[in-house]
Amino acid sequence: MREKAQLSDRFRDFDANLTTRPWIVLGMGLRKFNRLLTLKTWNGLGIWLMIAVVYLLTFIRFILFIEPEDYPCVDLNDEYQRCVPLDFYGDLLGNAGGTKLFLIAIAATASGGIIGNDMANKSIHLYLSRPISRLDYLIARFIPVFILLLLVTALPNYMILSSMWSGNGLETSWLLDRKWLIVNIMLQGILYSGTYSIIGLTFSTLIKKEGIASSTFFLFVYGTSLVCETFFTILNAFDIDEADYILLLSINHVVDMLSYLIFDTKYYVIAFFTPREVDIGSVELIAVFTVIFAGCAGFMYWIIQQMEANK
């Protein structure tokens, strides 16, 4: 009896000692990140495997076979350049040789159930009844995918950078001359990670089943990119100048173009084995990107807003 009474006293006078909202959100995100990388589920295993593939590719394709003097950019012909940080995001197929396929696959696997599962088992109602706002919840769910993607976008690029730096004898001046590169790689990483995570989250909100959401995301992003590129090639065969605009339909290409914009390089798509320049104004590009990004974010927020109201 004595013991029970003690327990009851502690129970009664318990002081939860709650922290503030930013910490809750950050903690939620980090814990979810931790759960994503667990080896206990097939999803986690798959993500680990794909991360391994990305690093392997980085190591073989970029670290071993690129001469330090070719870094970061080398002229492809008179007009176009091949830049390693850009090439990294290129297609695995074709002669670009990059990791995009795996990046999208990782984003699809990681983001598929991230909100959809909460909606399917209705635990979202519990999260929303906690002292966080709906926007906080969205941010907390955005963080893990975003961090995960940064691990496979910006980080390998920095690894290439540091290996090139060591190839150049670890001189500080070399690094100081390429300050812009360090910033650009980060910007680029954030751009890719942010876009894929928010689109992934949108699909997860839209389709409540994890597997279907993942595959739809993959088909939507990678499929449209393939289709648009095929059509771009065909249109080019007909010598149509406005063919460039068809690439705006593919999120992949929009992000690619933005990333080329960051590096201030001419964007090209390989059609019939020759690079063809794609010339779309930066204003249009940023406008399209903003529409996509804001559309996805707004849509998710709207769905979450609807959650309780229609119950």
Binding site: F11, A16, I24, K122, H125, S129, P131, I132
Partner: protein, 299 residues
Amino acid sequence: MIKATNVVKQYGNLKALDNFSIEIPAGKVGILGPNGAGKSTFVKIALGLLTPTSGEITVLGETLTKNTTEIRRKIGYMPEHDCIPNEMTGVEFLIEMGMVSGMSLAGATERTHEILGHLRMGEEKYRLIGEYSGGMRQKIKLAQGLIHAPEVVFLDEPTSGLDPNARREMLETINGLTDVSTTKVLLSTHILQDVETVCDSVIIVKDGKLQMQEDVKAIVGEKSNFVQVRIGGESENFISELKKKKITVEDDGRVLIIPYVDHSTYDDIIDASVKSECSLYEMERTSQSMDSVYQEIIE
């Protein structure tokens, strides 16, 4: 504890709450009402999950219209539907919920084990929630509402889907809550017997309006003017025996209802049972139950 003045909530043309004013006292309070009467809407407004179309509501002395998220630190919520993920263990899930409420890892862990101990969950708390039975799931749902030591906890149909044993256990737990903590309980349910056993006071809501607010003890226990009798053997003999005494009997198949005049009615019944050689299983002057009160108010 909760005070609402002229709260209106409108969904399109539908008025879920219509000029709803109430002052809910502390303790264990039951909310009753038909489906769609506005119970859930009220609870969700009080939780800050919905904003009322107009009107003002204060919970624990704080106005909800200003800081809807902050007030949730003081409120626990146990939803009606099944809403816990299958792929986590009970302990993991509760710690996660505690930390989402803003607790530290150590605090949440300690509290989780304390609550689960209090709810009499043993080693199974380390198993995946997907393997739990309905009663255990319900306990986890209750525990997540209590994890951050809230001042009020809203329980939305805590006994739905539970088998009789689990239901009894759940009711005992809720009953004991006020003994071991300062948490106040607001319970919404469809099972009137639950309110009878658990609550101190009861609120009945219909069509978005408050119909009644009363102490449970005051309503249950008032005697009615009927005696209920259950007999074995030939009931025809028994009835005709009573008819000789000019007493009308209503037979609803399993029990007989006999109007009560005074104590002599009891003697008449016993007399009739002896004469007709029917065994008398049960004789009782029916008292007012939650059922009859509820029906009276709703219809």
